[in-house]
Structure formats: C-alpha cells, structure tokens
C-alpha cells in the first residue's frame, strides 16, 4: 500500500463540520491571529481538505503581502464592503472593459506601467534580500561514508579543509581553496557551488557566475539544483544582468526551498 492510498483514506475521514472564516484567513495571513487561535487554525488546515485547498491558493498571497508590506488591518479605512454590487449595468460594462483591457495587455500612458500617473503614488521599492551564505553540507550520498565508495571519505576530508575559510566568513580565501578543490574533484558539485557563493559574498559578482554555472551543470538531477539555480540567479542580478531576475521569478512561482527568498528578491 502506498502513501497516496493512505492520504486518500485520511482525506476521506469525516472532515471538520466548520471551516475558517474569511476574517480568520485574513488575520492568519497577516500574522495578527492570537497565538491560540493561530495554532487552532494551523491544526484545522492539516485536517480539512477544503481549507487546505484554500490555503494552497493563498500561500503566495501570504508571501507577497510580507514582501510588499501590504496591510489589511481590521481597522483599515480600506475595508469598505464590496459585497453590495452596484445595480448599474454601466458599471459592469466598465469593469468588463477594464478586464478586457487588462488581459489584452493594455499599456498605460507612455512611460512606465509600474509608475502610476496622477492618482497613484509611486510603487514602493523594497530592498532586495541580502545574500545569505548557504549552510555547509555535502551531498547525502557522500555523507553515508560507511556505505559509499572510499573516494567519498577522501573527498570529505579535502572538502572539510577547503571549506574552513568559508565557515569562518573569510570568503576571498574560501574562493581560492574551493577552486583548488574543484580542480581535484571536477565531477563534484559542491566545490564550484561554494566557490561561487564565496565569490558572491566577497563582492566578486562577475567572477562568481562561471563557478555557479559549472555547479548548475553538475547539479542537474541532484539535490544541489535549487541551490545552484538560486545563487546563480542572485549572482547575475548582482552583476547587473537582468536574466537573473527571470530565474528568480520562476523560482518564486515554484514550490521549493528558495521560493520565499526568490519572491522577496524580485519585488521592485
């Protein structure tokens, strides 16, 4: 019996009779739900397939709200009810036309669509997340040294030495030692990955791109792929190359370990 069948049976058991309210969802996403209620809400979502579905649809809104600093506080003057639809057919025509324009790719006045003109204030510009060093680890198949090939042990010892400056925050030195390690173990993804990150953290954005590209090539189909993609994109962005932003947008739209950081890093 596989886990899918277990999941199906679990979802088929009696669902909770009540669900989170609209207000509770907003407060949960805003982080304003009191602790006890927050815990209850989290617990409920893991027991209720319908609410889990709602949560999945809203997860990105939670990230974006934090990134944009958007607020939907209960006392906000913006909380005018939208329930009372105007009876005016003309108003509906207006809205329909607006959506039509929106999806035909209507452009605002010449200049910049991201800079609203008369009634709108300029978009808020958020600082891009600082680049954090990747925690030091090795591929899981290397860590199991008692079952792996002997060369794993050799690699681990060499890696431990080469990564030491990185652990200590001496990134220029780490870049050199990891480049040497990469020359000795050309098939391993770890050396070029950490070398690239070390160069990036040392302020050598342009020089970090080549090792990170090499790491990306070696990381295909491995656990290193998200790391190589994310840091490669950050390196390009830091080097003023806009294709890095495209990769971050893609990572932002994909579930994975760098989704939240990528979303924050792409907010203009």
């Amino acid at each position: 019996m596989n886990n899918d069948r277990l999941a199906s049976a679990y979802r088929g058991t009696a669902p909770p009779s009540s669900h989170l309210t609209e207000t509770a969802w907003e407060a949960l996403l805003d982080g304003t739900l009191p602790a006890a209620e927050r815990e209850a809400a989290r617990e409920h979502i893991t027991r209720c397939a319908a609410c889990a579905t709602v949560y999945q649809g809203l997860a990105m809104f939670a990230i974006e709200s934090r990134a944009l600093g958007a607020s939907a506080r209960s006392g906000s003057p913006f909380r005018t009810s939208l329930r009372s639809w105007p009876a005016s057919i003309a108003a509906m025509l207006v809205i329909g036309a607006a959506v039509g324009l929106l999806y035909r790719g209507a452009r605002p006045a010449p200049g910049d669509e991201s800079a609203p003109t008369t009634t709108a204030a300029p978009l808020r510009v958020e600082p891009i997340d600082p680049i954090e060093p990747l925690a030091v680890r090795v591929a899981q198949n290397r860590a199991v040294t008692n079952r792996g090939p002997v060369s794993n042990q050799v690699f681990l010892e060499a890696f431990n030495l080469a990564i030491e400056p990185y652990r200590a925050g001496r990134f220029p030195e780490a870049a050199t030692s990891l480049a040497d390690l990469g020359a000795t173990f050309p098939d391993a993804a770890e050396p070029p990955l950490y070398e690239g990150i070390a160069r990036l953290l040392a302020g050598q954005a342009n020089e970090s791109i080549a090792p990170l590209d090499r790491a990306l090539g070696l990381a295909s189909g491995t656990e290193w792929l998200p790391d190589a993609e994310y840091y490669g994109a950050r390196a390009r962005l830091a080097a003023g190359r806009d294709e890095g932003r495209q990769t971050l947008v893609k990572l932002c739209a994909t579930s994975g370990p760098y989704q939240a950081q990528s979303c924050r890093a792409t907010v203009r």
């Binding site: 019996m1 596989n2 886990n3 069948r5 277990l6 999941a7 049976a9 679990y10 979802r11 088929g12 058991t13 609209e22 907003e26 989290r42 979502i45 893991t46 209720c48 397939a49 319908a50 889990a52 579905t53 709602v54 949560y55 999945q56 649809g57 809203l58 990105m60 809104f61 990230i63 974006e64 709200s65 944009l68 958007a70 607020s71 939907a72 913006f78 939208l82 005016s88 003309a90 108003a91 207006v94 809205i95 036309a97 607006a98 929106l102 999806y103 605002p108 669509e113 991201s114 609203p116 003109t117 008369t118 009634t119 709108a120 204030a121 978009l123 808020r124 739209a253 370990p257 939240a260």
Partner: protein
C-alpha cells in the same frame, strides 16, 4: 451613470492596469488560482477601485490597497470554490456510485482512514502535524509557511512521520 468612455475610468485603467496585472500574475503559479478565478479577482479589484474613485477617496498606497483587495477576493472565491468542489464530490458519490467502488471497499477505506487517524495520535506532536499536512496534500514549502519550519526540517519531519505511520500500521516500507 458611468460609461466606458468616462475619462476618469480611462485614467484609472491607465494608472492601475499594469499593477493589477503584475499582482495577479505573481500568484498565477499557485494551484486553484487560475483562469476564471483570476478574472474574477481582477473584476473585484476594478470594482473596488471604481467605487473609491466615485467617492473621490484618494488611495495613498496603491500597491498595498490593490494587494489587500485582491487577497480578500481570493479568499472569498477560493472558499466558495472549495465548498462547491466538496459539495459536487458528495453529490457524485450519492448519485453516481461507480460499480467498481463496492460497499466493501468504501468500508475498507473508512476503516483505513480511522486506522490512520489512530496511528497519527501516537506520533510526537511535530511529526504528527507534518504527517497530517502531507496527507492532506500540502507540499513542503506550504507546510513550511504554515508552521514556520525550515524546508529541511519539514522534509525531515514528513519523512520520519510517514515512516512512523507505516510502522504503526504495520505496512511495508519498500513501496514508498
């Protein structure tokens, strides 16, 4: 009465269409928030903007305002959609019983569900929550956002929780 030639409305579209398009595109990668739902959200956002314009209320921070309206409408629409789906599933079960799904297999599924629930009760709290979230269909990133756990911690807890569950249920682990 407003019409499509209303200059104020044209101004509104010029001012906000790019921002609204971006906000909605940002969430387009999520499941259950595609197609018609996006159109519906966009309609609601424009309606809200239009109402404010008619009341001549300025919008001090359009990004936050549009985002909060879009999110509120997404909550409403997703709740409605989830309710509709679960109702339609119940109706299907009631009206069109599949010949393959016998009363016995329904009973087995119910008993299995109860056994899973009983087994979950035996897990440590964090593993239990991770396993529940996994079983209900959340992925690792979503579980992380819900609980505040790191991605690696989520993977670890889900993996251990599911192994524990199978062990308690006396299921083989090879077929995982």
């Amino acid at each position: 009465m407003a019409g499509v030639e209303d200059p104020k409305f044209e101004q509104l579209v010029r001012d906000y269409s790019g921002l609204i398009r971006r906000v909605i595109a940002r969430v387009s990668g999520r499941p259950y928030l595609t197609g018609q739902l996006q159109d519906d959200i966009a309609q609601e956002v424009f309606l809200a903007l239009w109402k404010r314009l008619k009341r001549e209320q300025p919008i001090e921070d359009p990004t936050s305002y549009i985002f909060s309206v879009a999110r509120r409408e997404a909550i409403r629409l997703l709740m409605r959609e989830a309710s509709r789906r679960s109702q339609s599933l119940e109706d299907e079960h009631m009206e069109l019983p599949s010949p393959q799904v016998s009363a016995l297999s329904s009973l087995e599924a119910r008993e299995l569900g109860q056994a899973v629930e009983a087994a979950l009760q035996q897990l440590p709290a964090d593993r239990r929550r991770a396993a529940r979230a996994h079983l209900i269909g959340l992925d690792a990133a979503e579980i992380g956002r819900l609980t505040g756990w790191s991605y690696n911690r989520v993977r670890n807890l889900v993996s251990r929780g599911m192994l524990d569950l199978r062990r308690i249920l006396k299921l083989e682990t090879e077929d995982e």
